[in-house]
Amino acid sequence: MADATASTHAAPHAHGASGPATSFGIGRIALYALLIVLAFFFLMPVYVMVVNSLKPLDEIRSGNLMALPQAWTIEPWLTAWSTAQIGVQPTGLKPYFINSFLMVVPAVAISALVGALNGYVLTQFNFRGAHLLFAGMLFSIFIPFQIVLIPMAKTLGLLGLAGTVKGLVFVHVVYGISFSTLFFRNYYAAFPGELIRSARMDGASFFGVFTRILLPNSAPILVVTVIWQFTNIWNDFLFGASFSDFSSYPLTVALNNLVNSSTGVKEYNVHFAGAFIAALPTLVVYLLSGKYFVRGLMAGSVKG
């Protein structure tokens, strides 16, 4: 794992059981049985969420969580989406779903673009303090964000961004560029230097090299960065809980509000539907592009 750029492209060979995979002995059967049991355990919470979001409440109370619904209903989904009580208002999760999108789209776009530019500058140019700057950004990935909450709250107040979606975009860009810079820097560090040199000889400008040589070859790392940032920012809770108010809650904060502050009857089916609504965008991204998601994880886990 020392080499962050190489570790993600592991060769697809396994060293397990010798011989062709077609020889099914007791060992192989036990192996598959074990894997299937584990897979069941890993899928169970999402199965439970989906199945119980489609049941009437009394069926959950009297029946069991594993059973399929007897009287199918999408009522909990409609309630979670548009009428459930979030805080004091019966707005459902819809406005907060929109908030999360309004937060995540600009934050991802800006942080990815800035990361690409930073990666270009950090790999193709020398200047005093470049190593220190990169090391400083690298460490900032690991800091517990509790350490910046108080001064950031004050800054957002001064900028007039406290309690707004714009404020959240700002915060996510500030703490997202370290990741996106890391991704692009490592990617461009492995980029063939001859291509860039020959473009320069042909008189390409600073932006010419960036837009005509680097960016057209950046699709894989761009996808990795967008997926990674989208997942992280969509799933954020700490910044949302610290810097937003009723009008600007992201979805995670609204969901927690729905589940944990409901008084009176606990509407499990509505909670499950709400949780699934919050999970859906990142799950879809994961299912569509799991390969890139894993690459982001690996590149994000170890970096040099």
């Binding site: 890993f42 169970m44 029946g63 969901l255 699934f276 799950l283």
Partner: protein
């Protein structure tokens, strides 16, 4: 090539934001931790008073001891399971990518979603206990989440479920990087598969163990969302972690200096784990 004006100009906003919003803010919070700040920041210095108060608070001691229990179990269990899953996946199985995807997908979910799902699964009134009793196992009892002695283990269960696939992916990348010649030689000599793993493959995974430890340890210290959604720190303060403590004291109990001090200690703990690792990684890259 030497940077001219334009590249320097373009990287300066990022440099400025990192300098101010990361390191400047850290200095600011460190400063606050030595002041008399309560509800609002105050700039009047009070020496180490807030640290003295912090260390004497039972809420802090409980948070630390919970973090100890949580992080040891979380790191060990997620690490061992992650390695075990990677080895199972590495057996030239069919549908390898399907199994990999199933073990890894929790990592894509918000911890608030994970917390909500497990909150009701572990809830005796509606979850596993209720379900198994309905199915006829009437003496079955599983109420850890309502029990202040056991609730922290519920946080471990949900956190392990969320992250095991990630650790598996790290180990799998490591396994696939092991030189196959040694393995083939051992196989020719008649070594069994488990012997090959134990004597040849696992000893070569040292760097992955280190990476996995650093990642899991820093995630454990930062854990916040999951606790809020799963138990909200309860019952009582039995699942408080330093992150919960920091939020409570800073934003709801109006003891900002104490909250700041607690976040400084969190940063120190993470620095002690992460910095040596990052330095050695950077040295390796420079030399390699």
């Amino acid at each position: 090539m030497k940077a001219g004006f334009l590249p320097k100009l373009l990287i300066s906003p990022s440099a400025f934001l990192t300098l101010v919003c990361v390191y400047g803010y850290i200095m600011f919070t460190v400063y606050l931790s030595f002041t008399t700040s309560t509800m609002m920041p105050s700039y009047e210095l009070a020496g180490t008073a807030s640290y003295v108060r912090l260390l004497g608070l039972e809420n802090w001691q409980a948070s630390l001891s919970n973090l100890g229990t949580f992080s040891v179990l979380y790191i060990v269990i997620a690490g061992v399971l992650g390695l075990a899953f990677a080895i199972l996946i590495d057996q030239k199985i069919r549908a390898e990518s399907l199994f990999r995807s199933i073990f890894l997908y929790p990592m894509a979910l918000s911890l608030i979603v994970t917390g909500t799902a497990w909150k009701w699964l572990l809830d005796p009134g509606v979850g596993l206990e209720h379900t198994l009793r309905t199915l006829g196992w009437e003496s079955f009892s599983f109420g850890w989440i309502k029990n202040s002695e056991m609730a922290i283990y519920c946080v471990v269960i949900a956190a392990v479920w969320q992250t095991t696939g990630f650790v598996m992916a790290m180990f799998l990348a490591g396994l696939r990087g092991v030189d196959s010649e040694q393995i083939n030689a051992a196989r020719v000599d008649g070594a069994k598969t488990w012997q090959i793993y134990l004597r040849i493959i696992i000893p070569q995974l040292g760097p992955v163990f280190v990476s996995a430890f650093v990642i899991l340890a820093h995630m454990a210290i930062k854990s916040y969302d999951l606790v809020v959604a799963l138990t909200n720190g309860g019952p009582g303060r039995s699942t408080w972690l330093p992150s919960v403590f920091m939020y409570q004291y800073t934003f709801t109990r109006n003891e900002m200096a104490v909250g700041a001090a607690s976040s400084v200690l969190m940063l120190l703990a993470i620095g002690l784990i992460v910095l040596p690792y990052l330095l050695s990684e950077m040295r390796k890259v420079k030399n390699g």
